[in-house]
Symmetry: C2
Subunit: 203 residues, 2 copies
DNA sequence: AATATTTTATGAACACTGTTCAGTAAAAAG
DNA sequence: CTTTTTACTGAACAGTGTTCATAAAATATT
């Protein structure tokens, strides 16, 4: 049955076109400025049409959220072949920091706004975030195995590194690092991350 | 001129009543659910009246933001008499973490949403946040002076502690710590904070 | 005390928003 | 060429923040 296939394909394409249009608007104007009516107008569709493909706005947010995680993950995977686990960890850190500072709205949607999360509260369908986190854990475990880090509790190390880097990025994105005079906040954050790695190596 | 005084007092009271009503709604229903029309209706005023006291919604957000910082600051000051600087630092950490987890909407407004910050971008009137930060820096400096911490760069130590604790709290508030199985996330966060302090003491 | 002036509050109007749903046009099936 | 299924529309609803001419209340002046 070729028609059903084509229809399904067209439906997927439509879904993706909606997401692309939404992502563009959202990346430009910000999280709360995203308007479904504007998305529909931009696509030359009626507002109601979007609801044939998504239950509501939050479901669109969740789909965007998912796509953003894939972007970050792809950047992560580029560095997975670095042999030395410590260098790999450093590359992951730099990538994460640079991604966050250069894609403020995407980062906001992924790690800060809670709308997409609450939508999914029931199901455990936040796999995307977990996969990204797992990449960090694997690299940290490799550092432990290579005896860079004396602390063998990988989750404890993961908690502190993940929180510190996310904390720095999100503070900067919301202009809460003004007490630090440095002109390049990206350098400040990278340096602090390196400092944390040094701490983890020494004890 | 007693009348002018009274009028000014009444205006301040009105302003405060608006903020109190807004704070109540906002704490209950969340950041983006705060509706000026509902605030006005609750106070039995017309919507337009609010605009005689505030330029717009963001100015109300900023005023609330300011009041929230005062609350946190008051809690901080309770611990300033603890003689040992390390114990003082620990108390500050516990207070911050507990405040964040128990006042999610307030914390959100203070450290996460950016609307109130952008409103004030021009002026340097984000004093409230800076004062709170300064309390942390002072305690950290005291720890350095008491030779608890070998690292003499207080801003570096401040950056890492502030970011880590903020990172943990904000991740938990937005349900992004699900990969950690612990049932009490508050304990997890406090333990990780203590772990960070241990790291800072050893090198 | 009566009038003029200033301050304060109103509520309709505007331009938006997400969401729903009866009705219609297009496509596929019979 | 009909019938049925699918895709889409656009008006309607209930909200939102914000503005502004108008009205009421409070104060100042005569």
């Amino acid at each position: 049955m070729g028609i059903a296939e084509r229809k399904e394909r067209e439906k997927k394409e439509m879904r993706q076109r909606i997401l692309d249009t939404a992502m563009e608007q959202f990346t430009k104007d910000g999280y709360d400025k995203l308007s479904l009516r504007k998305v529909a107008k931009e696509m030359e569709y009626s507002p109601g049409t979007l609801y044939l493909h998504f239950k509501n706005k939050d479901e669109i947010y969740y789909a965007l959220h998912d796509q953003c995680f894939r972007l970050l993950q792809d950047e992560f995977l580029k560095h997975m072949q670095i042999p030395d686990p410590l260098d790999r960890l450093r590359a992951l850190g730099r990538t994460y920091i640079s991604f966050g500072l250069n894609n403020p709205e995407k980062y906001n949607l992924m790690f800060i706004e809670k709308a997409p999360m609450e939508q999914i509260e029931g199901q455990e369908t936040w796999e995307c975030a977990k996969r990204t986190f797992d990449i960090l854990v694997e690299s940290l475990q490799a550092c432990i195995d290579a005896e860079y880090f004396p602390n063998k509790n990988v989750m404890q190390v993961a908690m502190i590194t993940y929180s510190a880097v996310h904390g720095m990025v999100s503070l900067e994105l919301h202009r809460h690092l003004k007490m630090f005079p440095e002109e390049s906040k990206e350098n400040l954050i990278n340096d602090t991350n390196e400092y944390l790695i040094q701490l983890l190596m020494k004890s």
